[in-house]
Amino acid sequence: MVEFSGVGLRYGPDAEVLSDVSFNLQPGSFYFLTGASGAGKTSLLKMLYLAQRPSRGIVRLFGEDLVSMPRHRLPGFRRRIGVVFQDFRLIPHLSARDNIALPLRIAGVSEEDLSGPVGEMLSWIGLGDRAHAFPPTLSGGEQQRVAIARAVIARPQLLVADEPTGNVDPDMAMRLLGLFEALNRLGTTVVVATHDIHLISRIENAQMMRLEKGRLSDPTGALRYPPNRS
């Protein structure tokens, strides 16, 4: 599914932010990525969701080499990946509903076909009555839920979430995690970066990866011994 091998990343001429990162993600698995602030979690995820090419090493996604992939093929891959950004990145002049519908519209889904799923998703995240509100008028937690809804609406094969529960209360955090889990059961590979140890213990079979100063350690052996999910 995802294969990193000897990956290094540097921004500009500075020292490497990530060094010698190697791992394999198994299809249909659930991964947590932890590490101190500044350890490089977001940087790693950026390569995963194709916002950043590595400075060195090999990255393979869905069986294809991403480092040498021509630009024009990237959109097709990105449509198979859902992303929850640490800073949400909602489009401020689009309503909550339009933000959630965006990936479907970009993929060319017709208005009739998308209105059902988008409506369901809105009520599921508890924003059914705020469908036409604009992000700046939503609370931090509400914006986060919209961001998550946008990431999962197109049923991605790979879901990448960067601190997806940072702004919601524990109840809502569990609800959202439940959504990720449900998606995971349907076959989506999930990677969640978080500081919240509590959250990690809630998912059965979840594997943990840990970043320390730009290097990956493997406390649960998730990477050496891929989970068996028969």
Binding site: L50, A51, R78, R79, V83, R89, L102, I106, R150
Partner: protein, 301 residues
């Protein structure tokens, strides 16, 4: 292609701020100036050609023999002899009354009945138009003819004194053409700056769209549509004002039926060119925007 089709739901990605920026107004001004320069260029080029055609093959023979009776006889003889030549299209003796009337305008008596004017010994003039292009040959033959029929008469080719005027007008027409090109380049530059500014303003949206799998084509269509519509408004406005000005000038000129002004009307081809310019401008703006956008998006991963 020019104004790409974008689904209504996608249009909302760019907040609606139509005609709020300076671009449509700058484009309108440039379009106005372009059309006026083009109209001037076409008009001047046509005048230059008209003058050129009129003077190219025409000479006036001036007979200044002192005895008025001999002078008139020589003029009549020259007219007849010239008209009989194969290289002459037409030969016409200018009536003394006509000459007096022309001169009378300077003497303050339109009918030419001023006593001073009556007493002036006027030269006899014969206008001759040549056939064909062999000017030097025709001149030599005419000179021989004049030597025989009216010795001492002067031959004045019109090209000699109107030629510089025609050349001046022609260079003005070229300058107008150059101005059209320069203003076209300036308009394209405005469109490029507008496209780049739009990308800068909406960078966060574009990044987001890329990351959820939007293609460069999709994003380009979105922006190209907006820029094409904005510039089309500007072009339409500039064209409307230019048309009003040109029609006003045309109306004023139609009152002056004589002289160079009459030859300066634009002609069917000229009007067609002026009508084509705004359409070309709309296409040029859209394509410039498209290329700028695609090139800029290439630089984002």
């Amino acid at each position: 292609m020019i104004i790409p089709r974008v689904p209504a739901q996608h249009r909302r990605l760019l907040p609606d701020r139509r005609l709020s920026g300076p671009t449509p107004w700058v484009i309108a001004i440039l379009m106005l100036l372009t059309l006026l320069a083009a109209a001037a260029g076409v008009g001047l080029a046509r005048s230059a050609n008209a003058i050129g055609d009129a003077i190219a093959g025409r000479v006036t023979v001036q007979i200044v023999t002192a005895n008025p009776i001999t002078r008139a006889e020589q003029a009549a003889a020259l007219r007849r002899a010239a008209a009989a030549q194969p290289f002459v299209r037409s030969a016409r003796a200018v009536e003394q009354a006509e000459l007096r009337a022309t001169l009378g305008q300077w003497f303050g008596s339109a009918e030419g009945d001023d006593p001073v004017l009556q007493s002036l010994p006027l030269p006899a003039l014969v206008d001759i138009d040549f056939v064909g292009e062999d000017r030097a040959g025709h001149m030599a033959q005419l000179r021989a003819l004049v030597e025989r029929v009216a010795p001492g008469a002067r031959i004045i080719p019109h090209a000699e004194w109107l030629g510089p005027v025609a050349r001046l007008i022609r260079s003005l027409a070229w300058i107008a053409g150059a101005l059209v090109l320069l203003m076209t380049a300036a308009s394209a530059a405005i469109v490029i700056m507008t496209a780049r500014a739009a990308l800068g303003t909406h960078y966060a949206t574009i990044e987001m769209l890329h990351l959820i799998g939007a293609t460069d084509q999709q994003i380009t269509r979105l922006f190209q549509r907006r820029i094409a519509i904005d510039t089309a408004y500007g072009i339409a406005l500039g064209t409307a004002v230019a048309a009003a000005i040109l029609l006003l000038i045309g109306w004023q000129w139609s009152g002056i039926t004589s002289g160079l002004a009459a030859t300066a009307s634009l002609g069917a081809a000229g009007w067609a060119l002026l009508l084509a310019l705004p359409l070309l401008a709309i296409a040029l703006a859209a394509l410039t925007a498209r290329q700028t956008l695609l090139a800029a998006l290439q630089k984002i991963l």
